[in-house]
């Protein structure tokens, strides 16, 4: 079946502009995660959605970052007033559940964001 998809695959933007990154999780997956992967670094947790519960935003690096998940499916990560340090690959992952034997994330291909 279809995996996690993300769009756009690449985004180049000027410093100070706002950007929106989209994630389409696997159908039926209730958990959705956003990560940031900077060059030479591991994955940095940003935000986590589980069903209709309030999201865990504890990983968002600043108030310029926000995310929403509409209808428990598609999610959008928004970065306002982009800065050069925001340049990274943004990864989305979804999971059937957040506990138990289904505690496995499926990753999308990522969006490479370049802020000039």
């Amino acid at each position: 079946g279809a995996g996690v998809s993300q769009s756009p695959s690449n985004k180049v933007t000027e410093k100070g502009k706002d950007v929106e990154l989209r994630c389409d999780p696997i159908s039926g997956h209730t958990a959705l995660y956003w990560y940031r992967q900077s060059l030479g670094q591991g994955l940095e947790f940003l935000i986590y959605f589980q069903g209709n519960s309030a999201p865990d935003k504890s990983g968002l690096p600043s108030d310029r970052f926000s995310a929403e998940r509409t209808g428990g499916s598609v999610s959008t990560l928004t970065i306002q007033r982009t800065q050069q340090e925001d340049s990274a690959v943004y990864l989305c992952a979804s999971s059937l559940a957040s506990t138990g034997s289904s505690y496995e994330q499926y990753f999308g291909p990522g969006t490479r964001l370049t802020v000039t």
Binding site: A31, Y35, L43, F45, G59, T99, G100, Y103, Y106, F107
Partner: protein
């Protein structure tokens, strides 16, 4: 809080040689442990996971890992690597619905 350390940023190895990629973690609570692989120009995919039970976990492509609670380690091993194993490998721990990833180890298999 949880953290993951992958001490080796790069591991060069010759084809058919054994390899071990090291992963150590820090946590005050019980965690789930994972290894992910990222092939060039591809997304991350799960290699193997430890949730509970046997501490020796077997994954795809002949990889295995052993959970050692006393040493807080989850090292990844393969007895004989192939050129196609060239990729970046990430160790991760999961606790309370969050995942913490190491900085990755690039495995470079040479002919």
């Amino acid at each position: 809080a949880q953290s993951v350390t992958q001490l080796d940023s790069q591991v060069p190895v010759f084809e058919e040689a054994p390899v071990e990629l090291r992963c150590n973690y820090s946590s005050s609570v019980s965690v789930y442990l994972f290894w992910y692989v990222q092939y060039p120009n591809q997304g991350l995919q799960l290699l193997l996971k430890y949730l509970s039970g046997s501490t020796l976990v077997k994954g795809i492509n002949g990889f295995e890992a052993e959970f050692n609670k006393s040493q807080t380690s989850f090292h990844l091993r393969k007895p004989s690597v192939h050129i196609s194993d060239t990729a970046e490998y990430f160790c991760a721990v999961g606790a309370f619905n969050k995942f913490y990833f190491g900085s990755g180890t690039k495995l470079n298999v040479k002919p």
